[in-house]
């Protein structure tokens, strides 16, 4: 019975003949790696600081905006309804939920939106 030998085992065996002695690590490469590590860490620190500064700015700005009545102003901005009559007179109401209130805060009615048929 003949054994089926892979001819490539012999061919590739030629590539194995090179020395396999353990070689000592290169000190110049180790130095380059340490420099690269320090650079990477310094870049990461800069990025982290920039992100923290951005978050702090947003938090301070947001707090100041809320404290200065910004939230209320925003609500008004989005919750105002202006009705203009055919003679050009306009009346502004504020909208909270479905309720319409006049400038004095008194309820004047409810807003219902129905899709056009």
């Amino acid at each position: 019975m003949t054994e089926n030998i892979d001819p490539l085992v012999q061919v590739f065996g030629l590539l194995k003949s090179r020395s396999r002695e353990r070689e000592a690590p290169r000190s110049d490469l180790e130095e380059r790696m340490m420099t690269a590590l320090v650079e990477r860490q310094s870049k990461a620190t800069t990025r982290r600081r920039a992100a923290l500064a951005l978050v702090a700015c947003l938090a301070i700005g947001g707090t100041g905006f809320a404290a200065g009545g910004g939230v209320e102003k925003l609500k008004q901005w989005f919750g105002m309804v202006e009705l203009v009559s055919p003679d050009g007179q306009s009346q502004t109401y504020s909208l909270q939920g479905d309720e319409l209130s006049d400038n004095h805060g008194s309820k004047v009615g409810e807003l219902t939106i129905t899709p056009a048929e």
Partner: protein, 195 residues
């Protein structure tokens, strides 16, 4: 076959935990990074030198592998794969990049070697040695080169190759089979192997 050039197989659990702790520390501590480098330098350098026979190019690629280790180490996660496999993956990627650039040159070199039918050039034909095998291997697409080298030269099992290349076993088997065929065809075409 010779004994394994390197082993990427299973480590004992304690050793694996120690290794993982060292890798985690190396992400931020230069001393741990240096330790990791010293532990793996010989294996990686040997692998690169066996694939890239040119000493000058080998040095460059070895440096690229370890600088890539510094760059990508923060992204390394322990998923049960030995750290060395991850390192071999980095090395294989860098070698393949180099091999793609050298492939055309290798093909030209092979073209200059006479065909068996050409009796005039046949006499001057070089004998089949490590340089020539390396040249034929380099003329193949890099996906076949890496599997053939890991299997035949580094003596890795198919499972270990799949781990190093981060590919399914089926892909590794298929590449090995197609790579073998291509290698045989190229060697037979030059009269070095009987088909």
């Amino acid at each position: 076959m010779e004994s394994c050039a390197f082993s990427v197989g299973e480590l004992p659990i304690a050793a694996r935990e120690d290794e993982f702790a060292l890798v985690e520390r190396a992400k931020t501590e230069p001393a741990a990074m240096a330790e990791l480098y010293r532990q793996h330098y010989a294996a990686i350098a040997g692998y690169v030198r066996r694939r890239i026979r040119d000493p000058h190019h080998s040095e460059d690629v070895i440096a690229e592998v370890f600088l890539a280790m510094v760059r990508y180490l923060p992204a390394y996660r322990n998923r049960g794969v030995p750290f060395r496999s991850w390192l071999y993956r980095l090395a294989t990627t860098q070698i393949s990049r180099w091999a793609r650039r050298r492939r055309r040159w290798a093909k030209r070199q092979l073209d200059e070697i006479g065909e068996p039918a050409d009796s005039a050039t046949l006499e001057n034909r070089p004998r089949l040695d490590s340089e020539l095998v390396s040249l034929v291997l380099l003329s193949l697409p890099s996906r076949f080169q890496e599997v053939l080298h890991l299997y035949y030269v580094e003596d890795l099992s198919l499972a270990e190759i799949a781990q190093v290349l981060s590919k399914p076993m089926g892909t590794v088997k298929s590449r090995l089979s197609r790579g073998r065929k291509l290698m045989r065809v190229r060697l037979s075409a030059k009269g070095y192997l009987n088909d």
